[in-house]
Structures are given as C-alpha cells and as structure tokens.
C-alpha cells in the first residue's frame, strides 16, 4: 500500500513534468549513471523517431549517436569526474546535427545519481548559411524577370528547391484584393481575397506589413481553410516603399513546420522580390512617356544611373546624387567605375560581356560616396536606348540595411545557440548586452527585470562611469514601464514628444540626455519578465531593423531564461528526490521514534532548504511540537486541536497545508514570546494506521517559498515517516511484550509458593505492579452467590462483597466469562469505583475448566491505559492465578481423591482382566470340548457305515475311539466344573486325617495300568510316616494329575520318583520325572487354566488339571510349584499341605 501511494505521488509529479517537457522544442532526457535513458520528452521521441517506451531503459548512444563515436561516454565520464555540465556537438544517425548539453544531478551529499541532457537541433542553423548563398544566386534570376509571373515562378522555385517547402503560393496585391499569381503543391484557381476582409493569414500579413508565422492553425481565428488541410503557415509580405505589393505564403500539414531560419530566409527572398518588382515598375514607367519619365525617374527610392558604353554617366536621378553625396553636375562628369569599389579589371570586363550578351544583369557591389563611405548596393543593369544611342541603365538599391540584417541575423543565430546552453541568468544578460552593443553600436544599453511591482535595473553597458539607476514602479510612467504594461516594443524617436518618458538614471548626478529610446519586453513562459532597453543621445537613433533585431534577440533571451528556470526547477526536483530517497532509506532503518523523528527533521531542513520547522505529535487532543528547529523554546509548545494554527489544521483535516503567505491566513499562530518572520508555511500530516499521529512543517520568511513539488516531497517523506513509526511501534511493542511475558513467567514461579488465597492475591498484585507500573489489582473469589474480595494486608478495599446478580464490570466479567476492558471509567455506566481512582480498568475472570472461580481486577489511573498486549498478559496471569487457586482448593482433597481414583482404576482394570480371561477361557474350553466331539461325531458316522457293511471288527475299533473320547469329554466337563467351583470358591473339601501311606497305596493302584502301558516305574523315594490332614480324594486327584503328567511327558521306560516328606510344619509332596522339562517362560503359566503349553507328543490334556491342582492345594492352605532345569532336563512338581501333629 505505502509503496503504491509513493509511486502514485511520483507519477503525478512525473505527469506534470512531462507536460512541461513536452512543450519544449529541445529534446530533454534524464539518464542514469550508466547513460541509460530514464525518461524523455516528446521532442526526444521525435528526434529519435521512436516512441518513448522504446527509448526508456536503452543505452543512449546505441539509440542515438554513431556508435563509433566515444564522445558520449567521454562526456559523461568527464561530467561525472568534474561535476560540471558540458556541451558538445554531435551528429545523429539521421545526419542531423545536435548541440548537446549535459548537466549532472547530485544528492545532497554530492553524489551524482543521474544526468539531464538537452539536445538542440542546429542542423538548420548550419544549413542556413548554405541556403542563404543559394538564395542569392537565384536573386539574379529574379532581377532578370520580365513580368510579375516570372517573379512569381522564380520565387516559388526558390521556395520549393532551396527551402524545401511543400505547399506555397505567390499572391499579388491588386487594388483592394490579394490575387493568386502562382502556386506549387496546391491549386490556386481563382484565388482572390478582399484586403478589407477580416480573415486570412495572408490578408493579415498584407495589412500589417509583417511576417506572420502560425505554428498551429487550429488555434488561429484568422485562418481560412484553403484547398489543403494545413496546420501551420508562414506568410511574408513583399514591401515596396513601405507598402505591401505581394505575399509569399507557405503552408504545411504539420504542426510547427516552419523554423525561424525559414522565416528569415523567406523574408530575405521577399526583399529580393521587392527589388525585382520595383525594378519592373521603374522599367515599365520608363517606357511610358518621356514627360513622366523624369518624375518617375526621380520618384523611386533607388538610385538610377544611365551611362554610355564608355561608362560615362548620361543621366542620374536625385536619389543617386543624395546617396553618393555628389551634385548632378559632378556626377555627370564621372564614369560608372568611379563610384564602384570593385576594381578587378577581369570582373568588370566579365560584367560588360554578360550585359552585352543577355541585355541585362543583376549583381551586388559596393559603391563609394563622395565622402568615401562604402554603400552596399544591388545593381540591376540593362541595355536601353537613351537619346537614340545605346546606353546602360542601372538601378542601384541601397542594401546596406539588408546586408547588415543578414549579417546580424547570422550573428544572432550564434547568440541564440550560445544562450541555449547557458545555465546562469547573469551570463544571459552579459551576452545580451554584449550582442546589442556589437550590433547596434555605442549606446546606453540596459536590462531591467520585473520584481514585486517594480522594474529593477539589473545591468547595463555603454556608459562610463556607470549611471545610477532608479527602480520604476510598474504603475508609474516610463517608456520601459510601458513596454511591460503593453507587452510590446516601444520605439520612441524623440522622447521629448513622449509624455510617458521619465529619466530613470543619472550619470555624475546629471540626467542622461536621452533623445530616442527602444524598449523591448522579454517574455518568459508567457509572462513579461524583463525589458531590454537602449537609449540614444540623438533623435531617430534606432531603425525598424534595429527593432527587429532586438525583438529576435529578446525572443532568444526569453526562451533561454525559460529554459534555465525550467532546468533549475527540474534539477531541484531531481536533486530533492535523490536526497529524499537517501533520507527515506535512513528512515527505513531508524530503530527508535526519536531517531526517526530526528531524520525527518533533518530531511525537512535539507530538502526544503528551510530554517524553521517542526515535527509535532498528536496526543490527547493537542498537537505537541516536539521537534522544533530554528527557534529556541523553553518548554514544549502545545496547541489544542480545536484551536488555530496551520499545523493544527493539517492535523485535523489530514490534508497538506501549503500557505504561500501566512498574512492571508488567519489561523497562523506562534508560541507566546516567540517572533519568527514567517511568511510562507507548508504543513503535511503523518498518518499511522489511517490516524493522524503527527505533522511535519516548514516555515520560511519568504512569500511563496514552497512549491507544489516541495509539498509532494513532504508528502512522500510523511508516508515514509508513517511507515517508519508503524514499524518501530510494532517492533517495540513486540519486544516489550516478549520481555514482559518472560518476566511474567519468572514471576509466576512465586505463585507456586502461595499457600493461601491471600498470599495468591498479594503475589498477583505485586506481579501486576512490577509488570506494568502504576496499576493496582484486586482479587475476588466466587463464594456461593457472591464475589468476595481477598483482602490483601495493607491495602484498603472498599468493596468486599459483590452479589453475582448485581451490576458492575466485575460481575459482568464473571457472568459473561470473558475479559472486560473499561477504557474510560468516567464514561462507563457499569463501573463501580474500586480502591484507587481508576480511569481505566481491566477485569479478567478466573476460570477452572469453564467454571468462574473468581475475578482479577487491574486498575489504572490513566485513561486507555491497557494495550492489547496488556490484555494478553493479564489473561495469561489470570490462568496462572486460577491454577494456583485450584491447587490450593485441591490440596486438602487430593490424597483421598487419589486413593479413590486409584482403587477405582484398579478395580476397573481387574474387571477388565477378568472379563478377558473369561472370554479366553470359554473360547478355549469350547475348543477342548469340540476336539473329542469331532471324534465322537466322525466315528459314530463311520461306525454306522461299517455296521451297514457289517464290518464288526472295524466297527468295534471305531467304537473304542468313541468311548475314549466320551471319557475324555466326561473328564473335561468334570474338570471344567471343578475349575468353576474353584474360581467361584464353591469347592468344598471333606477334611479328614489319614495316614500318608494310605494315599500312596491308592495312588500306585490307580496308576499301575497307565505306567505299565508305558513301561514306566514309579519309585517312592521317601515315605512319610505319619498323618496328613485334608480331603483325601482331592489330594489323591492332585497326585494322580502330577504323576499322570510326569508319565505323559516322559519317555517310555523312564522312571518317575515320588517323595513325601516333612518340611517345616508342612508335608511336602514331590513328583520328579526325566521328561521334556520346562522352560522358564512355561513355569508361571503352568497353573493357569489352559496354559497352552504344547510340547511334541503331548496328547490329550485338558489344560485344566494343574489349575485344579493349584486350587485344591491352596484350599488346603498349601502351595504348589514346579521346577525344571530346562527343556529335556526333566521337571519336578511339588506341593505342600499343613501337617497334623500327633
């Protein structure tokens, strides 16, 4: 956003710049240090013949100049090194000649960042000389024209071939009409314009007897559309005896088609045409009648001589006599060669020959008067008959003025070119005065400029000692004043006859004896800026030609000054921007508000070259002028925002204030006791997040010291300042928040030490005060339907109980379970005053799992004291306080709760375990039942088939299988029942006391058939002699189980050992085998139902036997265990029963 706005601001200035630039005739461009185009005007685009978009960014010399010329880089390097502007002449690729001026642009620190270049096309000026020469050659043709049509044709030919015009016409004045004689490029049929008509450029030129050049016909009210659509026009009158006799006219379909050179050349052509017409008229008259001859002979402006073949004068007219200073008689004694300065015999002989051959001749020569004065003369000679002899009539025109004009005009071109590259106004004046002194001779020549209602003398030449000059008020008399007022040249041939004349200067305390005066206004950018004035001690000191030359010079001067001003402005702009950017870079890095403000103050001073100014901040409804420079203030100057002041207005409206003259602005204000001669002021607001936070201003003792450009510069600065403030604020608040959060986390540890709510409240209060300074804090806790304040020792609390159904922010926070922030307690109806005169308050509920247990109130004696960061911190603190309160509440209940919880958990775990066991048990039991069932079902099916086939033997065999599996099933169901009984504690024992021996005898009886089948021996190693108390059948069941297992898991023919002995107070039974043994992993599972221990060749166990054994043994109060040294190493199963002492 910010960047876009700055770019827009720059663009706007760019647009204004471009419009001025595009109105300039010279190509202007800005180039960077590497000579790439940065921008240019439309003249540059025209010069290079391509749109600006194709030019900008390109290397300059690639586009424009001959690449082989290293001139550009040389110039740039030289300018870069010396820091001084340079001029050079360069030929472009299209052959045109450019005079190029290069000026460096520097930052405040002097670093060159770019260059401004101005190119002026001087091709025409160079060509001018050549064209002038060609023109003179054609003039001879004009002189030999026999009629007006021939004059017209020759003129048009010159215009077409030498001037390269496209549309042109020759118009003759016939009575009261302009009549077309000839034209090229456009038809001219029946061209006839009334001279008393109001319209027509040519008519205007004829009537005013002045050249008229129109650069844009569309804007000209006088223009009458002809057969062609023209955009520019040049009309030059041909004057004979001060009267318009013809018009040379040319038009173009382009704007600004005609240069000053074109105009001047056409004017010279017009003077040639005038000669031709004069001569033609004279000739015509000569042939008419002898009687009229003398009158006419004497009636022309030209000197006319008639001389014989020998050169002796036969007749001369009055003009000839006057011009050469001879009497008629004296002249008639002389020969033609006597008055001609030309003495070269060859040239003279050639002239004679040519005249003889063609009958007429035109040439220029220089005559010598009687007094020796040299007179530039144009001669038209032709062979005539005079008094019946062949004679030569020469019409001699004094062309001294024309010659001088030509010379001066050429000189003026040089001056104009010189002026184009001058950067200093003083130098412009010097050149002007110098030029005038040279071309108009020794007179008092001076220059005055318009300044604040006066014409002020600048400088002058031609008088020694220099005269004292008096400033002339513009509303008073004076010829130069009139030149300013009328905007026109004042040519006064005798000042004594002019009522406006007043002597404006004295030499040696005497008024200068001026008799004639010529004052030409100098117009710059459409406004009269100066007057060039020249005064003579003689009457008629200045001619119309003098006037013309001075006007041309004044035109050049005006243009030069305009360019200087513009370039100055441009340079200032560019320099300002370059400097501005160096400041904005510093702003972008300023780490603190103070530093940013300092940079801003610095940049105002530097950028606007101003001495007084300030950077002021908007705070609490007032503008605090915190950074003031140029004035010593003993205390901070504060202006209320609802009061007067231009900076205040900027702060209130948010708009930049550009006041050229504070006397016209009633709101200007100064601190008391301070006087600054401020005349103009510029104040620009600084915005931060859309709010006006500050104003930067500059003041100057000069009226109108600040421009729109300055305003834009300050606006850009203000944008950068705003974003710098935003950046710094964000950084600072982030940093501060981090620091405070860190501090909070350290302080929170103190809360762990709190043993009571009072301690908690005290610690919380201290924490808040150390984190944010002046605030007070209170803690209230929910007790039933009330909020009860925790009383902190030493702190007065006015409120101790707040009903939860009442009002107030504290209750509100508790009820709404959210933080309430009262920015201004005076304006909050909910607020109830607490312990201090709080102006803002933060109320944070203390929550434990969605239940409000209390409220933390934080108060400040300032309005709007809490930032969003403060709120975050307060809420964090509230979390810690709540958990501390929760800890305190739980401390008493904790142990009990924990035990309960643990027991519950334990029970749940047990239940879960049991449930899993049951599921597994049922699943396994089902499996165990299904296995014999599968056999029973399968074999009964087989038996049926065998019986059907009457295979009794097979049937019998299968029947045995069924029986076996039925037995197994019976055993299994018994064991399942036993297991269930044991599990449910329902197994009852019928305890008796019996001899141990008896049970061993029964065991051997029971096991013999099994052991015999497996060829195993049961060895009873230790026989206990004595009585055992217990359930005889159940103990027997245990022993059978153990011995059967031993048998089952031992190889055939192995031995099983049984021992019964006394051990402590118990009887220990052990069954040892040499079978497969047990792993360590197996042993713990052994006595559980369906332990799932399968070993190779372990058939048909129910998986319940050992768990039942365990149940039985344990019911007897004994224990059962197994030992083994590992797989294949046999195992020993032992159990105990309590002994019965006899």
């Amino acid at each position: 956003m910010q960047r876009k706005r700055i770019e827009a601001a720059l663009k706007r200035s760019e647009a204004e710049k471009t419009s001025i630039l595009n109105s300039m005739r010279d190509a202007v461009s800005l180039k960077d240090r590497h000579y790439n185009f940065l921008w240019g005007n439309s003249a540059l685009s025209n010069m290079l013949g391509r749109p600006l978009s194709e030019i900008i960014g390109q290397k300059c010399y690639v586009l424009t100049y001959n690449r082989e010329t290293p001139c550009d880089t040389c110039t740039i390097e030289s300018v870069y090194k010396t820091g001084i502007g340079m001029k050079r002449v360069q030929q472009l690729l299209d052959g045109s000649l450019q005079e190029i001026w290069t000026e460096p642009i520097r930052t405040e620190m002097g670093e060159i960042t770019s260059f401004i270049e101005i190119s002026r096309d001087i091709t025409d000026i160079v060509r001018y000389e050549n064209r002038l020469e060609a023109l003179h050659e054609h003039a001879i043709k004009l002189a030999s024209a026999k009629n007006i049509k021939e004059i017209s044709d020759t003129s048009l030919e010159v215009m077409s071939t030498i001037f390269n015009f496209r549309f042109m016409s020759f118009l003759e004045v016939q009575e009261s009409f302009l009549v077309g004689i000839g034209s090229i490029g456009a038809p001219l049929a029946e061209f006839k314009l009334p001279l008393d008509g109001e319209k027509g450029i040519t008519v205007k030129a004829a009537n005013t007897r002045k050249t008229i050049k129109i650069n844009d016909l569309r804007k000209d009210p006088d223009y009458v559309k002809g057969s062609t659509e023209s955009l520019s026009e040049l009309a030059v009158p041909v004057l004979v005896d001060g009267q318009t006799v013809a018009i040379l006219n040319t038009e173009s379909d382009k704007l600004n088609a005609f240069s000053e050179q074109d105009q001047k050349l056409l004017e010279i052509l017009a003077s040639h045409v005038a000669s031709a017409i004069t001569r033609l008229r004279g000739e015509t008259h000569l042939t008419e009648s002898e009687a009229k001859y003398r009158n006419l002979f004497n009636g022309v402006n030209d000197a006319v001589f008639i001389h014989g073949v020998d050169g002796r004068f036969l007749e001369v007219n009055d003009v000839a006599c006057q011009r050469l200073g001879y009497s008629r008689e004296e002249l008639l004694k002389l020969r033609f060669v006597d008055i001609d300065s030309q003495t070269d015999p060859e040239l003279l002989s050639n002239r004679r020959k040519a005249l003889k051959k063609i009958g007429r001749l035109t040439f220029e020569t220089v005559h010598i008067s009687k007094s020796g004065e040299l007179i530039d003369t144009e001669i038209n000679a032709r062979i005539v008959e005079f008094e019946n002899t062949q004679a030569v009539q020469t019409t001699c025109r004094d062309i001294r003025e024309r010659k001088r004009m030509e010379k001066e005009l050429t000189a003026l071109h040089g001056v104009a070119t010189k002026l184009a590259f001058i950067r200093n106004l003083n130098e412009v004046w010097d050149i002007t005065l110098d030029t005038l002194d040279r071309i108009l001779g020794k007179h008092w020549t001076n220059i005055s400029v318009v300044h604040e209602g006066y014409l002020k003398h600048v400088k002058g030449v031609g008088l020694s000692p220099p005269p004292r000059f008096q400033d002339l008020p513009l509303n008073g008399p004076g010829i130069i004043v009139r030149a300013v007022k009328n905007g026109k040249t004042q040519l006064v041939s005798d000042v004594r006859a002019d009522p406006d004349y007043m002597p404006s200067f004295t030499v040696d305390n005497k008024a200068f004896p001026t008799l004639s005066e010529l004052a030409v206004p100098v117009t710059v950018n459409g406004k009269i800026y100066a007057v060039i004035n020249i005064e003579s001690k003689s009457i008629n000191g200045f001619t119309a030609e003098d006037q013309r030359l001075m006007e041309i010079l004044a035109g050049h001067v005006g243009e030069a000054i305009g360019r200087i001003w513009f370039i100055d402005e441009l340079m200032i702009e560019e320099e300002q921007l370059a400097t501005l950017h160096s400041f904005t870079n510093r702003l972008a890095e300023a780490p603190t508000f103070d530093e940013a403000a300092g940079v801003a103050a610095d940049s105002i001073k530097t950028l606007l070259n101003t001495t007084n100014g300030s950077l002021s901040f908007v705070e609490n409804g007032a503008l605090h002028h915190r950074y003031v420079y140029g004035v010593e203030l003993h205390e901070e100057y504060v202006q209320p925002l609802d009061g007067l002041g231009i900076t205040v207005r900027a702060a209130v409206t948010g708009e930049p204030q550009l006041v050229p003259d504070i006397r016209e602005d009633r709101s200007y204000q100064l601190p008391e006791g301070v006087s600054i001669a401020t005349r103009s002021e510029l104040a620009v607001p600084v915005k931060l997040d859309g709010r006006i936070v500050a104003v930067i201003n500059a003041e100057s003792p000069i009226v109108g010291a600040y421009t729109r450009q300055d305003q834009r510069v300050l606006e850009i600065l203000s944008m950068y300042l705003g974003s710098a403030f935003a950046r710094i604020r964000d950084n600072e608040s982030k940093e501060r928040y981090r620091d405070r959060l860190e501090a909070l986390h350290k302080l929170v540890l103190q809360l762990d030490t709190a043993q009571t709510t009072t301690q908690t409240a005290t610690i919380a209060r201290n924490m808040i005060q150390s984190l944010s300074g002046s605030e007070d804090a209170r803690l209230t806790l929910v007790e039933g339907e009330e909020l009860v304040a925790v009383v902190v020792p030493g702190i007065n609390t006015t409120i101790t109980r707040l009903p939860l159904n009442g009002g107030g922010v504290t209750v509100k926070a508790a009820k709404e379970k959210r933080t309430v922030y009262v920015e201004d307690t005076e304006n909050d109806p909910n607020f109830v005053k607490g312990s201090i005169d709080a102006l803002s308050e933060l109320v944070v509920p203390l929550m434990i799992s969605d239940q409000v247990v209390g409220v933390l109130n934080i108060e400040s004696t300032r309005k709007s004291a809490f930032t969003p960061d403060d709120i975050k911190l307060a809420e964090t603190l509230a979390l810690h306080v709540s958990s501390t309160l929760e800890r305190l509440r739980l401390d008493s209940e904790r142990i009990e709760t924990q035990i309960k919880l643990q027991r519950k958990e334990y029970e749940a775990e047990q239940a879960k375990k049991l449930e899993g066991m049951k599921t597994r048990f049922i699943s396994t039991a089902t499996h165990e039942i299904r296995t014999p069932l599968t056999s029973i079902k399968g074999y009964t099916e087989l038996i049926r088939a065998e019986l059907d086939a009457r295979n009794i033997d097979t049937s019998r065999r299968y029947f045995a299988v069924v029986e076996r599996n039925v037995d197994r099933l019976v055993l299994l169901t018994n064991e399942l029942l036993d297991t269930q009984r044991i599990e449910e504690g329902r197994l009852t024992l019928s305890i008796t006391t019996f001899e141990a021996r008896e049970i061993l005898i029964d065991l051997i009886a029971e096991m013999t058939s099994l052991l015999t089948r497996r060829n195993q021996a049961l060895e009873i190693s230790k026989k206990l002699e004595g009585k055992v108390r217990g359930d005889r059948n159940r103990l027997m069941q245990v022993l059978i189980n153990l011995v059967a297992n031993a048998s089952k898991f031992s190889p055939e023919g192995s031995q099983i050992r049984l021992s019964v002995e006394r051990r402590g107070g118990d009887v220990l039974f052990s069954v040892r085998d040499t079978g497969v043994g047990l792993t360590k992993e197996d042993i713990p599972k052994l006595f559980k139902p369906f332990p799932g221990i399968h070993t190779e060749g372990n058939p048909e166990g129910t998986g319940l036997g050992l768990s039942i054994c365990k149940g039985i043994v344990e019911l007897h109060g004994g224990r059962i265990w197994a030992e083994s040294e590992g797989r294949g190493k046999g195992s020993t199963f032992s159990f105990t029963t309590p002994e019965v002492k006899s």
Partner: protein, 121 residues
Amino acid sequence: MDDEPDILDLARITLESGGYDVVTAASGEEALQLIIRDKPDLALLDVVLPGLSGLELCRRLKRDPTTYSPIKVVLFTALGTEVDMMLEKRDKADGYLAKPFTSNSLLGLVGRLFGDTRREG
C-alpha cells in the same frame, strides 16, 4: 494334519473313502516335509498346533507357490466362528472347515475344490 490322532485318522478314513490318497502328519514340521516329498494336491491343516501351526504353514505354502507346487489348502479348526472369520481375512486358504465336521462336509468341500474331477479318480 492334526495333532489329535483320532481326528487325523477320522480325516484320513473319510478322505480315503472318497477315493483320495492320503498321508497324515501329527505336526506342522512333519506336514511340511510330506508336502515337499509327496507334492499332494491338497493339504488339510488344523489351525491350532504346537510348533508350526496350520495357519503358519498355509501362509508359507501360499506365499511361495513355485516351491510348494500349486497346492490347495483347507484349514480346519475347533475355534469359534468369529475367529474363523478373522482367519479367513488374513490368509489365503482355499477352504475352511469347522470341527466337528461330517464326512459329507469334508468330502463336499474337497470335491468342490477339485471341481469334482478327481472325485472318480
């Protein structure tokens, strides 16, 4: 294959009565050796066995069909129906048989697996 001799015999008798050639094994390891040696067309395996169980054996046979020839596997088990369902998802046995089984159910299943073609042979 089954570790219950009665059931092993029962299956053998039943299958032989259906015209199949039968070899029996009382453990997974033994069954594997027989399969490698005799390359039978079908293995009837008890799921729950000590050592190499029927389930594991089935997986091994199906994972490497080139080594063990394209053998068909029928698992039979006395575990509950739910467990059977779970097993069905985890291995790629060709058929399942729950204990207790009838001769018809066994022969029917085996017959279906051979598309009845071996029934007569």
